[in-house]
């Protein structure tokens, strides 16, 4: 049952991801991205990471995607015109992606420790959000504050960037 769910959502996620990079219309790309994110959230659920799954949907599928769509609409991007395909770019890109994948398979096939089956958690019904919150506020309080500052800085930066006249 779990394997089936995992397979379905993984395949969905990968398929939509492929859609992102293969479709020509930016709007369809963005929609594929949303679907990919939602499928990823489902994969997170199979890993018992409910909080992360919810955040994934809220932040990515919600906020980030809206932003993307917003910009696409704002810039009024249409379907790309077909340009001359640069063979060198495709070969180079393909080589790097292929090289990366082969390195990855080497690592995964070489390490037997990765073949573990998912162990059972001691308290299956434990409050996931509360536990993440404990870890966050007890062990990572300072980084959490710093992330807050980072968000503030980026907000200010965006406001500055969006001004009509950059001085």
């Amino acid at each position: 049952m779990q394997l089936a769910l995992f397979s379905i959502f993984s395949l969905l996620m990968l398929a939509f991801a492929l859609g992102v990079i293969l479709l020509r219309n930016p709007v369809s790309c963005a929609m594929c991205l949303v679907m990919s994110f939602v499928a990823l959230a489902a994969v997170f659920v199979t890993l018992d990471a409910y909080f992360i799954a919810v955040v994934q949907v809220l932040v990515y599928a919600g906020a980030v995607m809206v932003l993307f769509l917003f910009i696409i609409m704002l810039l009024d991007l249409r379907e790309e015109k077909r340009r001359r395909v640069r063979l060198s770019a495709w070969v180079g890109g393909g080589l790097i992606v292929g090289g990366f994948l082969s390195a990855l398979t080497q690592v995964i096939s070489a390490l037997p420790a990765l073949d573990v089956v998912k162990p059972a958690v001691s308290h299956p019904m434990a409050n996931d959000v509360a536990l993440v919150g404990f870890a966050l506020f007890r062990n990572f309080n300072l980084p959490f504050q710093i992330i807050g500052v980072l968000l503030l800085v980026s907000t200010v930066g965006v406001v500055l960037l969006s001004k009509k006249e950059l001085k």
């Binding site: 180079g92 990366f100 390195a103």
Partner: protein, 603 residues
């Protein structure tokens, strides 16, 4: 006003005035001259006041640099009998020469620059006199070098003056290099550079006499350079290119005396190094005689005096070498400062009257045109030649007595030099003031204004009386050799030398229209200048050419150009990778990451 603050005021007033002259001098010639004069008079008055004050307690000494625990440099003053006397000499002569300069420089260019230079010089010289340690003395020693460079090269648009300034500076560097090494050796041996501590610590070094001798001789090299002893004397005659007050103040009365003063300052150290004193005595004696020989065949009125200065400095150095107390040499320094300053001022007065003509064979018959100058020159000449009962007679004969007692050969040699002195100075006197006028300028010469005559008259009095016993006893603690030891022949011989030299000179030059004798060896200064010239041209020039070649081809090409061109070429090749395309960069980046992954896996 206390004895604590007075030396500092004396020291820094000239510096302040030099700075003010540089700032304000361009507005008014009178202002700059009076600033310099005020500084000199302040120093002079304070020095006279200070001379009669007992020195109370330790003098102020400021920490200047602390170079590790071993070397702590201070700036401090020393006030003892020696420095008080020297203060008197320096400031008094300065006042007179500054006054004289008012008249001498009245029509010259660079009027305020000249007075700024004089003030700076006075500051540096006073620094040497007051220094309480070797390093401070060395600093002011170099400052004296700089200010003399500025003053000798006053007419810098004239090639010979600019060259003379350079020569004085460079020749002095040679001596100063030895001086510095000597200071370092003494410091290395004793761990201090302060004179009083050094004198206390030196007996501990007596177990290493050779080390101590080398250190003292190296220190003496500073004197050889600054006091123009053989073989570094060549700069002094050439420095006569500067204005005459400069020659008078720097190259007769004060700056060249700094070398002798320094030896007197470290006299307690020299006393326990007999070998070094012997070397000092020989250098002084030989310089004294050789310079007198050279002076006999010069025709430039200032150069004769310059060689005479070298010769007299030889006496002083000899005095340090043979006499049991430094006061013997300091006594001659004192009298010499008076009469040589006078002679130079008189020569300057003649030059002004002659419109800057310096060849005495173009003069002649000036006794009627410039009687006061002639009179002053006459008195100065008597003192220089050692006419009995003038100042030079007392001081010079004392040194000769000691030399005869300690190193007889040198004694008789410098006694002969005394005769030569009388000969060459009377020769100059007769040629300049007697005979017929030999040029148009000489016929129309006029006496000089009062600002120039007054200092000369004051100095004339000093030249005659400065050596009299009551002044001797007041200023110096002289020691005389035992009467038994001095040969009875010596004093009659010295009288004979004076009258013989003067008489021979009168015989040959009284009515001479041109030089009746010609000795190329002396006229060409024993060819020492030629040797230097040959050395600089051939050996040093060859070395310089080689170094220039090495600089151009090895340093510039191999060390500088090749790496720079290589870097440039690499940069040129690499900048083709900068495509401006973001995906190309992503490609390079990804390729790097994948490559790194493979390296990590294959390990």
């Amino acid at each position: 006003m206390s004895t604590q603050t007075a030396p500092w005021i004396i020291l820094f007033t000239p510096l302040v005035s030099a700075a003010l002259i540089l700032l304000l001098g361009k507005f008014s010639k009178t202002l700059s001259a009076s600033l310099a004069l005020i500084a000199a008079i302040t120093g002079c008055v304070l020095s006279w006041w200070l001379f009669n004050q007992p020195v109370d307690g330790k003098m102020l000494s400021l920490n200047w640099l602390t170079l590790g625990p071993e070397l702590n440099l201070t700036i401090g003053v020393t006030l003892d009998h020696l420095s008080k006397v020297m203060l008197l000499v320096v400031t008094s002569i300065s006042v007179l020469v500054f006054t004289y300069s008012l008249g001498y420089m009245r029509d010259e260019e660079g009027y305020s620059r000249f007075f700024a230079g004089l003030s700076l010089f006075l500051f540096s010289m006073l620094g040497i006199v007051l220094a309480d340690n070797f390093v401070m003395m060395f600093i002011f020693w170099e400052l004296v070098g700089v200010s003399s460079y500025i003053l000798i090269g006053h007419y810098y648009s004239k090639d010979s003056a600019a060259d003379a300034g350079k020569q004085a500076f460079i020749v002095n560097r040679i001596g100063d290099f030895g001086f510095m090494l000597g200071i370092l050796l003494l410091w290395f041996g004793t761990g201090t550079v302060v004179f009083t501590q050094l004198i206390e610590a030196i007996p501990g070094l007596a177990t290493a006499p050779i080390y101590l001798t080398i250190a003292c001789v190296l220190v003496f090299m500073g004197t050889i350079g600054k006091s123009a002893q053989m073989p570094l004397h060549v700069w002094l005659p050439n420095s006569m290119e500067g204005p005459t007050p400069v020659s008078s103040l720097l190259h007769a009365a004060t700056m060249v005396a700094a070398g002798v003063y320094m030896l007197a300052r470290i006299f307690p150290i020299l006393e326990i190094v007999p070998a070094a004193r012997e070397i000092i005595a020989w250098v002084g004696g030989i310089t004294c005689f050789a310079a007198a020989l050279m002076a006999t065949q010069q025709s430039d009125i200032k150069r004769i005096l310059a060689y005479s200065t070298i010769s007299q400095l030889g006496y002083m150095v000899l005095g340090i070498g043979v006499a049991p107390t430094s006061d013997v040499a300091m006594f001659h320094l004192f009298t010499h400062a008076c009469f040589k300053c006078l002679l130079f001022l008189a020569a300057g007065s003649v030059m002004i009257a002659m419109h800057h003509e310096v060849d005495m064979w173009h003069m002649g018959g000036l006794r009627k045109k410039t009687p006061v100058t002639m009179f002053c020159f006459f008195l100065g000449m008597l003192a220089l030649a050692g006419c009995p009962y003038t100042s030079g007679y007392f001081s010079k004969d004392l040194i000769i007595e000691w030399a005869v007692v300690k190193i007889p050969f040198l004694g008789w040699l410098v006694a002969a030099a005394a005769g030569l002195t009388a000969f060459y100075i009377f020769r100059e006197f007769f040629v300049v003031f007697f005979g017929k006028a030999r040029s148009e300028h000489a016929e129309h010469a006029k006496e000089q204004p009062i600002t120039m005559l007054v200092p000369m008259l004051v100095l004339s009095v000093l030249a005659i009386f400065a050596g009299f016993p009551f002044i001797q006893d007041h200023l110096f603690k002289l020691a005389r050799p035992d009467h038994e030891l001095v040969p009875h022949l010596l004093h009659p011989l010295l009288y004979a030398m004076f009258f013989g030299g003067a008489g021979l000179s009168a015989l040959l030059y009284f009515k001479a229209q041109k030089d009746p004798i010609s000795i190329p060896l002396f006229a060409n200064r024993l060819y020492i200048d030629n040797v230097y010239f040959w050395f600089v041209n051939n050996i040093q020039g060859g070395g310089a050419a080689f170094l220039s070649w090495a600089d151009r081809w090895i340093v510039d090409l191999l060390v500088v150009q090749v790496p720079s061109k290589l870097t440039w070429a690499c940069g040129f090749a690499l900048r083709f990778l900068q495509l401006g395309n973001i995906q190309a960069y992503a490609f390079f980046f990804g390729a790097g990451v994948v490559g790194l992954l493979y390296i990590l896996i294959s390990k």
